[in-house]
């Protein structure tokens, strides 16, 4: 599938509508963490959620827009839009690879997210702001540098301390929310089929339930007859819905779900 096609498929109406909600979740999380004076940001839960469900492009856009809205009132946060986009893209890409279906994969994802976030923070702080900003972790870095610790270790250490709990919690929270979403809802997103209870059962090797799966098996081996049921893929407002287009797509979709 071409890139353009992939992007258009990711940006189904459901994905587009969930972006504002995700951004709002980021805002609410952020202000909640502030109100409760927690040493966390909690402003990327929405981004991760959307990235896991709809892939890297939607995740990147959500991250970017989220920070863009913040910079509407505080332009000094503008550089962080790029970081949020990169992290969103990465989570989406990892999710698409199926990494988040296994506990080991989740741990790896969290580590990668922390690594990329910390690197991004340090790079932006150093090369754009010269090393110091007004955020809490930057103040810690300043104190460390004043105490004699060299700049780069100080920056990495101080941002690591704040990113570790924040990103771990955010990724886990996003996964918890996805776990409580029904299969019927999940399949409306491009990555959704990876998280369904149906695919979890299939991966554990348990016999899949019922006629739906038998039909899936048959569909994978032969083209559905023209006057039989036409199977439509998950909702995609860009894809034409002529029945002739369906069998090949379904066969692929079922294969992916079985993987």
């Amino acid at each position: 599938m071409t890139l353009a096609r992939r992007v258009r498929e990711d940006f189904s109406l459901m994905a587009i509508l969930i972006i504002p909600i995700a951004i709002a979740i980021n805002f609410v999380g952020g202000s909640l963490a502030l109100a409760l004076k927690l040493p966390l940001y909690l402003d990327s839960i929405g981004t991760f959620l959307v990235a896991m469900l709809a892939g890297p492009f939607v995740g990147a856009l959500t991250g970017f827009l989220s920070l863009a809205f913040v910079s509407a009132t505080d332009p000094t946060t503008l550089p962080w839009t790029v970081q949020a986009a990169v992290v969103g893209a990465m989570v989406g890409w990892l999710a698409r690879r199926g990494l988040l279906r296994r506990a080991a994969g989740v741990v790896l994802t969290i580590l990668l997210v922390i690594l990329v976030s910390v690197t991004g923070v340090v790079l932006i702080r150093l090369f754009i702001f010269g090393g110091f900003t007004t955020t809490g972790s930057s103040v810690i870095a300043a104190v460390m540098v004043a105490a004699g610790i060299p700049m780069i270790p100080a920056q990495f250490a101080s941002s690591f301390v704040s990113e570790l709990p924040d990103k771990t919690l955010s990724v886990l929270l996003a996964l918890v929310v996805i776990r409580s979403m029904s299969d019927r809802y999940l399949i409306k997103f491009s990555n959704g089929h990876l998280f369904t209870a149906h695919s979890r059962r299939a991966r554990r090797g348990k016999p899949a339930d019922g006629p739906a799966d038998e039909a899936a098996g048959a569909g994978a081996l032969q083209l559905a007859p023209l006057d039989g049921p036409s199977t439509y893929g998950s909702y995609d407002r860009w894809r034409g819905t002529r029945p002739a287009a369906a069998p090949a797509t379904t066969a692929r979709a079922h294969e992916e779900a079985r993987r």
Partner: protein
């Protein structure tokens, strides 16, 4: 030409163990008001979705058979292009607010803007709907701040203004109080009077009995009964399928042992009482003329 023709429709939601709609055959003439009733899970909502094309375009899944609305095959159309053919209203008032309009006026105009209607015509049509729906006082209010009943009226107005030949309403009054319910029904009947075909899923049997041209009872994904309200509600199978009957039917049943002969119509309670009182020769307090 019939407004809606459904032939051999069988549909299964993705990853569902069994079909939600089985072998549906249904024809709805232009200008008819057809009410769809049935127990929960009998497939009423799915039928509505199929007429509007949300099944299969939004939900995916496996579809066999044909749905033709206003001469066009639903499966062959894009979901967006059906917006001008079939109007759709569902239960939840809040999620029917688009979320981008700052006033009720803007909310109602939204659909017409999407369809590319000329601005002057938009104004004309929105003003007319505001008048008809009694929403003039709300025209500048923020749609997200309205009460449920008000939002539902706005949602209905926003669809009515688009003037589609077919209107599908999936339990539009289930979250509303009686006053708002009557308001909604007035609007629906006005639309029907203007020639719109209406498919209505409802639980309020008195309204169904009074206003429908036909009633369709669904059970387990198929159509169990299909006929005029009088035919359907007098059919003993109707209640067995889990449908509540209009009040007048229960009264009718209670009066049976007394040997009173009543015609299968009327279904309105007042009309029934009228018939009883004229039949027995006695006067009933609610129907007796004021003269004593």
């Amino acid at each position: 030409m019939d407004a809606v023709t459904i032939e051999n429709l069988t549909y299964t939601y993705p990853q569902a163990p069994a079909p939600a709609l089985r072998d549906i055959d249904l024809t709805i003439g232009a200008g008819e008001l057809v009410s769809v009733v049935g127990a929960n899970g009998s497939g009423k909502s799915s039928l509505c979705q199929a007429i509007r094309g949300f099944i299969p375009h939004f939900y995916g899944g496996e579809l066999a058979g044909r749905v033709v609305v206003d001469g066009t095959d639903v499966a062959a159309q894009e979901i967006g292009d059906l917006a001008g053919t079939v109007g759709f209203v569902f239960q939840n008032p809040f999620t029917q607010m688009s979320g981008v309009a700052r006033t009720v006026f803007g909310e109602i105009a939204f659909g017409l803007e999407n369809l590319g209607v000329a601005p002057l015509e938009i104004h004309e049509r929105v003003e007319r709907v505001l008048e008809d729906a009694g929403l003039q006082e709300l025209r500048d209010r923020d749609p997200m701040q309205l009460s449920g009943g008000q939002q539902q009226r706005v949602a209905l107005a926003s669809v009515l203004v688009m003037d589609q030949p077919v209107l599908v309403l999936d339990e539009p009054t289930s979250q509303l109080d009686p006053a708002s319910t009557d308001g909604v029904f007035d609007l629906v009947l006005a639309a029907r009077a203007r020639g719109r075909t209406v498919v209505l899923v409802e639980h309020k049997m008195e309204h169904v009995a009074e206003f429908s041209d036909r009633v369709v009872v669904m059970d387990g994904g198929s159509i169990a009964l299909n006929g005029t309200p009088a035919e359907v509600f007098s059919d003993p199978r109707c209640e067995a399928l889990g449908t509540r009957l209009p009040e007048s039917m229960y009264l009718r049943r209670a009066l049976e042992p007394s040997g009173l002969r009543l015609s299968p119509t009327p279904l309105r309670l007042e009309d029934l009482l009228q018939e009883i009182s004229s039949g027995t020769g006695g006067s009933h307090p609610t129907t007796a003329p004021e003269v004593h």
